[in-house]
């Protein structure tokens, strides 16, 4: 995949990008100074097509009711739409059974759900003093802090894979790092900072050898890659709606039925019960057991529409476009003097987020200049402080791409970086 030509990758990957862009109302925005919006912050949150927004509006205008509780026409319609969304999401990720898909509010809740139920669990999946939990140094904070809380609270030990200079996981010590005392291995599939695509199957194989549970943070993977959880080798997979053209307020945890059945409930309340007495309660079967209270109904419906939208394009095409635009961006950014990419600089096993430094200009200042030109990127630690520290930096600038990103967007970024350098008189 190296040496990609600088000509329109969009054409090469058979994706009608102008048609796609026309679906996203926000892409017509004109920003301060008359600059058109160049949105390169999709790893932070993606934009939403009209189809997703409309699905939620229609729900509120015509079918709104609580789910799973009401014996009336609106309740039937709302419940059917909510459960249809679950089926869509299950199909989208290759889940064997829709009941294995638990709706949460975001990926962070999904990961915390796992860490908390492992703390309270009994039996095989309980994490206790002396046990070990393995993560990596390139995790998003949402896949670090829950495990820090779990291990501190239970007296277990947190260990982690380091990162090579190229921004890949250092798997050289895998057999000692994942050992007989390891109870959980939780890894990010696609890094939101470095862009690295990690060898989840290989790690899962080793983890399963020692009987550890495998958790995958797929927050950046499900939006970008064709996903088949059945063949991934993971036991639990977390992801989030707002990064995959879906709304905010919705995420999902997929888990193997046996595992989800063995875990105790997380949040207690309405809808997750079989029966409640003051003296004690019993739990509903999956997926209700993990969905206490009124769920994000309109949001699940919006996520269902998002999944329809991505499926209509085709996830292979989405992935190919991401790959092509990333290759283009890596090549163009590579030509900028004083610019250092944090993470793999070749578009191999690499997702569409590129973090970089520009010598002599702080990321905040870089992104401020870009913003003055209508180019939206992220500056900071991107919720991955340890990975930044690994590379000896406090923060970086990140450009990230999605189905609506064009080579012209990347060109605008490159022009903007030139201006930033000139403004701050470097290079």
């Amino acid at each position: 995949m190296t040496g990609v030509s600088l000509q329109a990758p969009a054409a090469r990957v058979d994706i009608d990008i102008e048609k796609i862009r026309a679906d996203f109302p926000i892409l017509d925005r004109v920003m301060a100074g008359g600059h058109p919006l160049v949105y390169l912050d999709s790893a932070n949150t993606s934009q939403k097509p009209r189809q997703v927004i409309d699905a939620m509006t229609t729900h509120y205008e015509q079918f709104n009711a609580n789910v799973g509780r009401a014996v009336h026409q609106l309740g039937d319609a709302s419940t059917a739409a909510y459960e249809r969304a679950r089926v869509k999401v299950a199909d989208f990720i290759g889940a064997a059974d829709p009941a294995e898909v638990i709706f949460t509010k975001n990926a962070s809740e999904a990961l915390n759900l796992v860490a908390n139920t492992l703390a309270w669990g009994s039996g095989d999946y309980a994490v206790r003093a002396g046990d070990q939990v393995v993560i990596t140094e390139m995790e998003h904070h949402s896949n670090i802090v829950p495990w820090q809380l779990l291990t501190e609270r239970t007296g277990a030990t947190l260990r982690w894979f380091g990162i090579t200079d190229e921004g890949r996981l250092d798997l050289s010590q895998i057999d000692s790092l994942i050992n007989e005392r390891t109870k959980v291995v939780s890894v990010v599939w696609v890094s939101n900072m470095l862009g690295t695509v990690n060898p989840v199957a290989e790690i899962a194989r080793r983890a399963h050898e020692v009987g550890a549970l495998v958790v995958v943070d797929a927050s950046q993977a499900v939006p970008q890659l064709p996903v088949d959880v059945a063949s991934l080798g993971a036991d639990l997979v977390a992801f989030t709606g707002h990064k995959m053209v879906g709304p905010t307020g919705i995420g999902a945890l997929w888990g193997r039925t046996e595992v989800l059945n063995a875990l105790p409930p997380f949040l207690g309340g309405g809808s997750m019960i079989e029966t409640v007495a003051m003296a004690g309660s019993t739990w509903a079967p999956l997926p209700a057991k993990f969905e206490a209270g009124t769920p994000p109904i309109a949001e699940a419906i919006g996520l269902g529409a998002a999944v329809d939208y991505l499926s209509a394009i085709g996830m292979d095409r989405v992935a190919a476009h991401e790959q092509a635009i990333t290759a283009y961006a890596l090549e163009r950014l590579g030509d900028i003097d004083g610019l250092t990419i944090l993470g793999p600089s070749e578009p191999v096993d690499r997702g569409g987020a590129i973090s970089f430094e520009i010598a002599g200009v702080h990321p905040h200042d870089v992104s401020q200049v870009l913003d003055s030109l209508g180019v939206a990127v992220r500056a900071g630690h991107h919720c991955a402080k340890p990975a930044h520290r690994r590379f000896g930096v406090q923060s970086s600038t990140r450009a990230s791409f999605y189905v609506y990103t064009t080579t012209a967007d990347v060109d605008a970024l490159v022009d903007g970086l030139d201006q930033a350098k000139r403004f701050f008189q470097v290079g």
Binding site: G68, R69, A70, V71, H72, Q73, G75, D76, T79, A80, S271, I273, E274, T275, A284, A288
Partner: protein, 148 residues
């Protein structure tokens, strides 16, 4: 909403006069099932003799649909070989989960065909299946116990 298609006369008859109601001895397995949505409950016992459903006895609290379907269940399955009863069970479940698209088989389901209309009311399918799921659960337990 066509109330008549839901509340067939047969259903209302079974509701007002449930067959085989009450809990009886002997039995090999007893289960208690709840519809978490509405709280409807059934306690159900099965008595198997030589691979045949000798008795189904129950104490049910619930709506017309759940009461009537448990009554029809008992009526239909008592006296049948367990295998055959399981086939009837499957046929009934298929009918209920068919969203009104499945043609009911009167030879197999007898009075059970009256529930065809229920399949069009998603919120009531669980009511119709409450007793049936309990029976399957209890029978599975009884069979395992007999073998074990």
């Amino acid at each position: 909403m066509d109330l008549q298609s839901l509340y067939q006369a047969i259903i209302l008859d079974h509701y007002r006069d449930p067959h085989h109601a009450g809990l009886r001895e002997p039995y090999e397995a007893e289960v208690h099932h709840v519809n978490p949505t509405c709280g409807d409950e059934v306690t159900l016992r099965v008595h198997l003799v030589d691979g045949t459903v000798s008795d189904i006895s129950y104490d049910a609290e619930g709506c017309s649909i759940s009461q009537a379907s448990t009554s029809v269940l008992a009526e239909l399955l008592i006296g049948k070989p367990v295998d055959e009863a399981m086939t009837v069970h499957e046929t009934f479940v298929e009918l209920m989960q068919g969203r009104g698209q499945v043609e009911p088989d009167e030879d197999v389901l007898e009075d059970g065909v009256a529930f065809a209309g229920v399949a069009k009311f998603p919120a009531r399918v669980k009511c119709a299946l409450l007793g049936w799921m309990a029976w399957k659960d209890a029978t599975a337990q009884a069979v395992v116990d007999a073998r074990g």
